[in-house]
Symmetry: D2
Subunit: 307 residues, 4 copies
């Protein structure tokens, strides 16, 4: 298949929609991003990459980091992680305290904020140190992105901390239900750090290879997680990866994926490739409007949907 041509066609077709939607404005640092940017990258199992748009431009990965913390938590705890979190869709806004309270402090899945904070706590417990946890997660991301330059954006991090009261509330609520082991501030700090990492679609498409290849990196040949664990992450991405538009994403795109409010999305074509797309303006459900559109065009043009 001529992937380069397909990407260029997509870039052309989405152009009229770059003015639609709204950039995330819950923190000032994100609100300032120029909304009319677009990038899309594919990485195949042999390392070949295809790019279109601003694929070198770094952006805030935000909730995409939840895939990586869930991966490591699953790696270290395996099935015992399900004492802490569920794997069912939430059917509610992504940061609601209501459901968390009704379900006694156990987040429904690792891709809502409470779930990702909880996974961070599990990692802090594993590494026995908050700062080390941040570093090890970053090292894992650098490894699977095959890029040592990845770092966090201090302005975003500061902004997250200044506007993160709801996340701190979620963490304290879990703590009150005895479902958080470490100091709340330390855990939430590390969670914010992971959200504040900056990457581009080139790097992100590369990170998805281990999920497309049963847990093993097809280039480095390193096994990060088991086949069963990779399948679990893919299925949770499919059913819970896009907040309250997960069902629509499953239908329209038909690939496991995860979006972030920075406008980035990662997706997995099982046994074939990793994908990442970026366009900062969001739709009503908080997912990249043009990014979702581009992925839908991609599976339509290539027939690479799982359905």
């Amino acid at each position: 298949m001529n992937y380069q041509k397909i990407l260029e066609d997509i870039a052309e077709e989405i152009k009229p929609h770059l003015k639609d939607g709204h950039v995330a404005d819950y923190i000032p640092a994100l609100a300032k991003v120029d909304p009319e940017q677009f990038a899309m990258s594919l990485t195949l199992f042999d390392g070949t990459q295809y790019h279109v748009g601003d694929t070198e431009t770094l952006f805030s990965i935000q909730s995409i980091s939840k895939v990586f913390t869930f991966t490591l938590a699953l790696k270290f705890y395996n099935n015992s992680i399900y004492k802490r979190i569920g794997v069912e869709p939430s059917g509610n806004p992504f940061n609601s305290l209501v459901q968390l309270e009704y379900e006694n402090g156990k987040p429904r899945n690792p891709f809502i904020n409470a779930g990702a904070i909880n996974m961070t706590d599990a990692l802090v417990k594993h590494y026995k140190n908050a700062e080390l946890t941040y570093k090890e997660v970053l090292n894992f991301i650098k490894e699977i992105a095959d890029d040592n330059s990845i770092s966090l954006n201090d302005v975003i991090l500061k902004s997250e901390k200044e506007h993160g009261y709801r996340n701190i509330a979620l963490a304290n609520l879990m703590k009150s239900f005895n479902n958080l082991d470490n100091d709340v501030s330390e855990v939430v700090d590390i969670y914010f750090k992971h959200c504040s990492l900056e990457m581009n679609t080139k790097m992100l498409s590369r990170t998805m290879l281990y999920l497309a290849n049963h847990g093993e990196d097809p280039i480095s040949k390193k096994t990060h997680i088991s086949q069963r664990q990779a399948k679990r992450i893919n299925s949770v991405m499919l059913t819970c990866g896009h907040y309250d538009a997960s069902g629509d994403f499953a239908f329209n795109v038909g690939l496991p994926g995860k979006s972030g409010v920075g406008g980035g999305i990662v997706a997995v074509v099982p046994k074939l490739m990793g994908i990442s797309v970026w366009a900062p303006a969001l739709n009503e459900q908080g997912n990249s409007l043009v990014g979702t559109m581009a992925l839908e065009l991609f599976t339509t043009k290539t027939g690479l949907s799982i359905f």
Copy 2:
């Protein structure tokens, strides 16, 4: 692949678990069913069938009927059906009024009770007659099952009506939000009739062929719905087909499917076959315990998961 051998192996492996779980007891007529029964059938595109267990025994299809009413509603209304229902997972017990109230009478998806009642209402509006609606839905099921003998169980129907107050409450709540067009009693009666139909796994596995084959029946060559509509139904089955265990089913089985509290499950292997399994005892989430297990064994043994 030796499907017959696979089915027989599965029947052997699930045997020790036939005593687990509990038969649905919300209506007396279901509570009386002998829990230790099991049946599993596959139907390929050329009509070849493989069976194991009590595949001739009729059982109450219950919520499996929701797949058929959604199919016809989607066929007649296409995208305008989404004014009435959503396609997102519910994240709540299957018949909760809470979510319906918070979302102004619009059911989250067609596979929760409120959604299926609403689809029935859409069909009554289309056919302009409640009794005719029942007959046309039944005719559609007979056609895709390739079996004219299908009928409803009067004892089950009577039992449904005597214990269906929560469903009547759901219907009235939708009516109060102007999201139900016809007389509440008439609509709910038809809904109960569809739930009270009796079929066996032989018939049910046959019904799934149009969903496995892009909307077209591969044997009769009749196109029931468009490719896009079939894809939508499959994706909603994957994300919402098993109440609050949909995520787990997606992971463990990895096929679009729908369960009913009568213990039946239907599933779709895209481009290949329709499957049905039956075992009356349910797990905590209200899905057939052994049926779910059998499907998991099937995709493990055949590698036919979509992930």
Copy 3:
């Protein structure tokens, strides 16, 4: 105290506010009422009455009827009535299904719709006949109003039935929790009939005497309920009588009272008198805007608040 002068002063002071608020519009028959009407009546223990405004004009008593059905249910069942309902404020919109579901079909108090429907069911069980229940409640109201002319408004009743789906939903939900004994339609019909009765402030102020006098009618000397039962009704009126403005009413007016969306309010000055006020336009919480104001002026001018 010169009650006549006080009433006339109040009528003068509220005049500029008769244009404020909005007439109930959930049923067409109520929406047509001329909003700029006002009436206020007091009835003392010796039968002396004081009136100002349109005190002969009949209006729909609506939820004021809940006081009378609770009275009779308490009379016939005494404390065993609390198996069916609570006596705590609801802290939610007056007809919410959410709370009813979370509390397993037991209404929080007899003055929310679910609670009054439940009290009607208790009365139908007691009288063993729905139509007889309607007549006996009407007879009780005629007796305590000392007026045989009271009847229901057919247009309002028809309108209630045509727009009462939420109430039917509430009744079915209670039925599904086994907290409703009789046929849902029959019970809700009788409930609607009581809401559709028409009375004026002259009659209504007279009805409150038994509650102001420990359960005994001070004029006829007939004991309707026990002292303890009267105290219970008064305390529930104080804490739950005005939907989600009950706390504000308790503070500003400081009298047990009950409002209806027809714009009427009844109130009790213990050991002294019954009061009724009417002004059709409602405030945001669904209580008569000018009526609440008039009662507040009354307790300010007379010092007759319980605080």
Copy 4:
């Protein structure tokens, strides 16, 4: 009236019930209290006091402190305080986050935890310093108790901090809705300090005099708040003072009052006296079981209910 005799009769009558109920166990320091203690005190406007039981024994005042912080917040902000809190009953467990989220971070009343934390925040804003706020509230309590010895219990305070995650969650949730002005930790620390104060029934009955006397201390003649503010506090105590048993307390006792999980209750007989009772074991709603019983006996014996 022979108050001493009445108190002694009450002490005799409640004796068989001292073994009922359960001491609060959410913090270890409270769980250790001997449950079979009892004390009751009355303070009249001329300073005369009547006592029975362990009236010199200090106990943790817990939520009774909410009356004092609401008093000062109302004094400094008057009606503008209602931008921050409501005055309606909550109809939910006393520390639920659900309602706070649905109502956009505005607590329903000053006597639920979120409301009291918010009042503390208002005071920190007024005094411009957290530690000063603690001291000024303590000074106010010392003044109205006419006792300079009042201080906090360090063990209780430490325990509160170690188990206060839900309160910290509530505060962060309010902060996320911009309904908290100061640093969350500082505000919650001060809130915990007020809850950790220790007093006895002798002191507490004395503190209620300003509320019984229209805002003015009848002994010192000092006006603490306006008549209207005192009326507001009394009405909120009546409708919201006892968690989800407020309606029952209003009925059975018929006096404005406030309970704490330390087993203490304060109550107000308007124009006559302040009351305090203490018995550590709680009923299901979290109010002193024997304390509630003693107050009910008191109003029955004296006829001093407001109904």
